[in-house]
């Protein structure tokens, strides 16, 4: 686990990690292929900008899912949470709730309420998981149904529309040529990377994710770890929800539903281990870019959404297969050049041979 205990330097931060190496190579390769195949269609300023607009709403979900993966769990409720907080924000923004606030106040209250509510929903997830020791997959399946149920009950399945222009302006605002929401996403990502990889709290999270029992016996408060993780996921869901309604100019149950599954795929490709305790934020960053680039290519190629589905599914299976057998494959290719016998996993650890 040298990727965690090594004193990180900028150079070995990425190169010291085989998984990230592979990911980066794939990314560079894809970027090159795109350049050859699409040229300006892909790398025009306009297309790059539109990609940057599309990334954040999904990126926040992926970051949330990464946190769930890190503690060995899954959070299915992220987009239901995002939608519900978006809907509540929408009601405030349109003035259906709390009428009488002026526009500036409405926006401020809406944003604060949405983030507060989404964080609370995350907290609720965390409390169920920690108090009752429910597996997070099942717990969030429940709360996913619950949150989208509340959203449905509030809206009757209809869209909430009619936000103030000054709010939706945030969704198209740019600093120079770079969308503000993209900058916000990058800032959140960097912050998360710092928190996870450079702080004590992050270290606790990785340890807890890898082996909760040993964490408990090392004085790490597991209850708090679970609750904090899922609360943070809730906050990220809120960010995603706000970004979505800002860009779409409406709020509705079901927006971004596909993001849950896509974010699972992103996490797996990014090398976030589903068993917990392993993976880096930068991996999510690269993979999100990769996915967006691919999505962009699909749009240029005018592929149907079904074909896109096929490709995602294929990619997930391939990546899983490569992470499992890639090393063995590589060893097999290298074998003629290396004289020493390469050990298989099973035989490489004599220390375990005698422990029953």
């Amino acid at each position: 686990m040298s990727k965690i205990n090594a004193t990180p330097t900028p150079i070995n931060y990425i190169t010291g990690d085989a998984n990230l190496n592979a990911l980066l190579s794939v990314f560079v390769l894809t970027a090159l292929i795109c350049a050859l195949a699409f040229g300006d269609a892909m790398y025009s300023g306009a297309n790059l900008q539109s990609m940057a607009f599309q990334i954040p709403e999904f990126g926040f979900v992926a970051l949330g899912m990464m946190l769930a993966f890190l503690v060995g769990g899954i959070d299915l409720s992220i987009t239901a949470n995002a939608c519900l907080s978006g809907i509540v924000a929408g009601f405030i923004l349109t003035g259906s709730w709390l009428p009488g606030l002026d526009e500036g106040m409405r926006i401020a209250v809406a944003v604060v309420t949405a983030l507060g509510l989404s964080t609370l929903m995350g907290l609720f997830n965390g409390l169920i998981i920690a108090c009752f020791a429910v597996s997070s997959l099942i717990a969030t399946l429940g709360t996913m149904t619950l949150y989208s149920g509340i959203g449905m009950a509030l809206t009757g399945g209809r869209s909430v529309v009619g936000f103030p222009d000054s709010f939706t302006a945030g969704g198209i605002a740019c600093l120079g040529e770079v969308p503000v929401i993209f900058i916000a996403f990058v800032i959140v990502m960097v912050l998360m990377a710092i928190l996870l990889e450079r702080t004590g709290g992050g270290r606790r999270l990785y340890l807890f994710g890898g082996n909760p029992v040993a964490a408990l016996f090392s004085g790490i408060n597991n209850f708090r770890m679970n609750v904090a993780t899922f609360t943070a996921i809730g906050f990220l869901a809120g960010l995603s929800g706000l970004t979505i309604i800002m860009r779409v100019n409406s709020a509705k149950v079901g927006y971004g539903d596909a993001y849950v599954f896509q974010s699972l795929i992103v996490c797996v490709i990014a090398g976030i281990h589903p068993a917990g305790g392993r993976g880096k934020v930068i991996g999510i960053g690269i993979t999100t870019l990769l996915m967006q680039m691919a999505a962009s290519a699909f749009t240029i190629l005018q592929l149907s959404p079904y074909t896109t589905k096929l490709i995602w599914g294929l990619m997930l299976v391939l990546v899983l297969g490569l992470t499992r057998d890639g090393r063995r494959l590589l060893n097999a290719l290298r074998a003629p050049f290396i004289k020493n016998k390469t050990l298989t996993d099973k035989d490489s650890n004599p220390g375990e041979a005698d422990n029953g």
Binding site: C131, F132, A133, M152, G156, V213, I265, Y306, L310, L314
Partner: protein, 333 residues
Amino acid sequence: MRIERSEGILLGIILIYAVAVALVNPAFLSIETVFDLVRTSSRDLILVMGLLLIMLSGGIDISFMAMALVSSYCATAAMMQLGLSSIGFLLIFAMLIGVVMGLFNALLISWLKLPPFIITLGTMNLFHGLMATLVGTRTFGGGMLPPSFNAFGSGNLIELESEYGIIGLSLSVIPVVLVIVLTWFIIYKTMLGRGIVAIGNSEEAALRLGFRPLLLRLFAYGYIGALAGLAGSIYICQVNAVYPDKMIGEELMVVAGAVIGGTSISGGKGRIFGALLGIIIIYLLKSTLIFLGLSASWNNLFVGIILVLSLSFTAWQEKRRNERHLLFKIESR
């Protein structure tokens, strides 16, 4: 028949709910409600039997809705191509296609040794994408389908006269009952079923007794594939149309049903009665909220509440057991 505590609680909930609804709207208390419930829930009652077997084996499958769609769609398309019209062909084709997809899932899970949730998530997209790319995405409306589809989908086994006209028990009850009996037989009467339960309890231990996890898994995932073909066929007959994008997205509700019914996500534990109750409770809410004067939009809210309560309760019992035995097993997975 033995009734587990969680099943008792579910029965209690159903009873209280039924009484409450009946008090508000006496029209609820009719045989029609029951017939309607059976008809609409038959697809998921069949699917949950397959899912139960999968979850007993310690796995999970969320691609079954995709399998149901893909198999029924492909079977229909093939029949149109070949000019076949018998409902038997539909069932056979769909189940065969389902089995193939199920076997593929099993092989992939055995090869990759990663959480089946994630793998079947991938294959769900894969199957659907393949279907759309290779077979097409046109919708077959009622007029284009062989009449035998509709005859089966709207046919009744029993018909009763009532003040609202003729009401009937859908023909689909036959496959549902057959599947339940078959699943019961597999789980409780065959070594195959016991082997599946055994690998769900402990794959290592099952291996040491000479069970072959790969074969057992192939069977379980193949079984749910076949059931998906059957359930998909029943569904398209009932709807009397074949769409290229229906069903997908409803898989988690079936998983929810199984979980409400006390099926353990970690494997080895689960009962037919509980899983059926779980699905029935979901459909009961779905179809009867209207009697309470609530729109269908409230459906998820109620299912969500019941789901959260029941899974918290089950897990909490387990946690207390562990605490009593000073077992520090923390399950956040």
